[in-house]
Symmetry: C2
Subunit: 435 residues, 2 copies
């Protein structure tokens, strides 16, 4: 057994306290797996004097001086979250020779290249399995298992709160506002749910997944983002009628030119209908799952709990063991791979499919006029279903599902439909994925 490795923990919230407990309670097993003991040398918190009965460590380990702490560690675990002071602390840690394990999706998605560059400069590891989809191993499979393959597309349910809300809307028929309140009461949604329901959290994860999948730098502000606040009970019901379900998806797609050469990547977060037969449709409650399509591997799915102290701690500790082993055996893990350097295309250029529900006049010629609006914008229709509305003799509902077309063309089609004299209302439109 080698000399102990010094581990510094930054943050002691739900995840941090679970990590601290595991380092203490499973110390013998972790030592056997690493080949050296992991010695917790300090926990940086804002209020070191606050009693923490659930963290069974010497109270003297708590400190408010994170900057000094990280300078003497071999491995720094950052679970504070947010941009500052996490960024400076991670950079200081690396500068002083520590490998870093972080769960900080926001920082990675905003400024990953700076962190990667520092890791390379100082010859240390930067690991972040916990940043995407909690306990589910997805960063390591993307960085390592699939690195010999070509990933075409990633479809991820990477935010537990929104999946919980959409799943409940599907099973109860209730609306968005009511369901969010229920999620808050049950602890599945924050008092201020903006980061989840507006898709910010999923967008950061999408940026990380796209960067890994396509060997290209993608920052969170390059991710097209639409949340679920506009998803109505009627949308969910419309999906149900299509034998589909509404999910908030993080979508990373490789685009190719006519010769088949990769020409760009589309990275976006938005609600979409997916068929109930798709493996992602059965992801219930607050679970997460990432569906990956690769040239050789085919279709893979990774499923599990996407959040919570213990699941996130599992991912953090797997990384801690990995970087600790590297310190003992020499070498290091994968570094940033951004060689493909593909452009991130705008949402208008992303190829998607639409489900559009229209209230129209029930008389001859309406369908021709509607179909004309699609054709004028170069959008091909896959199916049309017409239903006479029960409450009115001369009104009907048209449900159109399109083939894939640039999102801009589909938006323009919706605008054109709104202006048609025979169309009372574009009742709803939503993108369709996974078909």
């Amino acid at each position: 057994m080698s000399a102990p490795l010094k581990v510094a923990l930054l943050g002691c919230g739900v995840v941090g306290s679970s990590v601290a407990r595991a380092l203490v309670d499973n110390g013998d097993d972790l030592a056997a797996r690493v080949g050296a003991r992991l010695e917790l040398i300090g926990i940086a918190v804002r209020r070191p004097d606050r009693p923490r009965p659930d963290v069974p460590v010497d109270p003297g380990l708590f400190t408010s001086d994170a900057d000094t702490l990280v300078r003497s560690a071999d491995v720094v675990i950052e679970v504070i979250g947010g941009i500052d002071p996490a960024r400076e602390l991670i950079l200081t840690a690396m500068k002083h020779g520590a490998s870093v394990v972080t769960a900080n999706k926001a920082l990675l998605a905003e400024d990953g290249p700076t962190l990667y560059a520092a890791a390379a400069e100082h010859g240390v590891d930067l690991y972040y399995e916990a940043a995407v989809a909690g306990a589910i191993p997805i960063v390591r499979p993307m960085r390592e298992s699939l690195v010999g393959d070509d990933v075409h597309r990633v479809l991820g349910i990477v935010n537990g709160t929104t999946n919980f809300v959409l799943d409940k809307m599907d099973t109860t028929g209730a609306g968005f506002a009511e369901t969010v309140e229920q999620a808050q009461a049950l602890g599945y949604a924050e008092a201020d749910p903006t980061a989840d329901v507006e898709g910010f959290d999923a967008a950061a994860k999408a940026a990380i997944l796209a960067s890994l999948a396509f060997h290209t730098r993608v920052a969170s502000d390059q991710v097209h983002r639409e949340g679920i606040t506009e998803v109505s009970a009627a949308d969910v019901r419309a999906a149900r009628e299509m034998d589909s379900v509404v999910k908030l998806l993080a979508i990373c797609e490789l685009l190719r030119d006519e010769s088949g050469t990769p020409s760009g990547v589309s990275v976006r977060v938005h609600p979409a209908m997916i068929p109930r037969s798709h493996p992602l449709a059965s992801v219930r409650d607050a679970y997460n799952a990432v569906f990956v399509e690769a040239a050789a591997a085919g279709e893979l799915m990774f499923y599990g709990p996407g959040a919570g102290g213990d699941p996130t701690s599992s991912a953090v500790l797997g990384d801690v063991v990995a970087v600790a082993r590297h310190r003992l055996a020499g070498g290091h893990g994968p570094v940033e791979s951004a060689y493909a350097d593909l452009p991130v295309v705008s949402m208008g250029d992303a190829a998607t499919r639409y489900h559009i529900s229209l209230a129209v006049a029930d008389r001859p010629g309406v369908l021709a006029q509607v179909a004309g609006a699609f054709a004028d914008n170069g959008v091909s229709i896959e199916t049309v279903r017409q239903r006479v509305l029960e409450d009115g003799a001369s009104r009907a509902e048209l449900v159109v599902v399109t083939h894939r077309a640039p999102d801009a063309a589909l938006r323009a089609t919706v605008d054109a439909l709104t202006g048609l004299e025979t169309v009372d209302e574009v009742v709803s439109w939503m993108r369709v994925e996974g078909a």
Copy 2:
């Protein structure tokens, strides 16, 4: 970019030719991801003169002299399969300083420790993602992602042929023999399907998974193995009546003593009923999936194609990139972790649940006698369902599902039931998992 790394390929069947094609066709991408070109220096085959139009390499690369080839390689890819000559070639390769990537589940499950010891002695990598569940990243997640956690149980559908057969029996109601013939006609089963349908293939994978999950050496001959040849259409129908489905499962379980200390591992392959609501129940056709229960992570599932040239090649190439990076950066990947060294318990000591279907006399006192047989063997009953058989006035069917009990006690109960005067026949019994 560093100097090229010399890659030797052993075997050029379905997997080998896919690997060779990828090394050629994706050479630029692989070089960018590794930091050096992967130069294919030879392909060892039995008949080097045979035309191979689907492998776009210089025909001069084919050789029958595998032994010489492996001595000059940096990375050796072994996709011959079987014990000999694969074992000697791998050992020779390592002795001469090559890292090895293999898909050879049989060899790893029979003699993994010898290979691990050689890798450690010579300071090279031994990687084998493709040995379990094809393209699905499961070896790396078990060796690395979950290494900071404690795995309780692994339930795997790790043989595509048997899953295809059982899925078809479920959807068509047909019997085993008929369905195997259909699977053979469609290319999902070999002309001699023994290795698959008798569970040998799954047992080798179970041994590998258990070794990784529990840091304990498990060889394939320590795995309790029952195939699917005895699974009847009636069994599948009985499962359906329980809202369950029959799957061939590779099960790896950690046993604990009364104080909670790990006391042994149960590793077994057998058909079992699982509820249709379990994530494994929706694994259709020849797909594979591995369901993992861990202390902190909770329940995870890894899903994808478990076989085939391209999917297996994807897993092989991920490993090739990993070991190639280690050669450039120094260091190496995880080594054997067998420190826990837990005993493998016999099947009789494994805790399982049974579904038992009995034909009995329909008269007072029968249930008391049947229940007595369970009680005498210390087996607790969860549910009993009684149904009068339509074809006879005085005969009934009893379906009993038990709580968990040692398999030996359940076997003894079945024997005792067979001897009861009121029991005409033990119509069927099957283990129940995943509840």
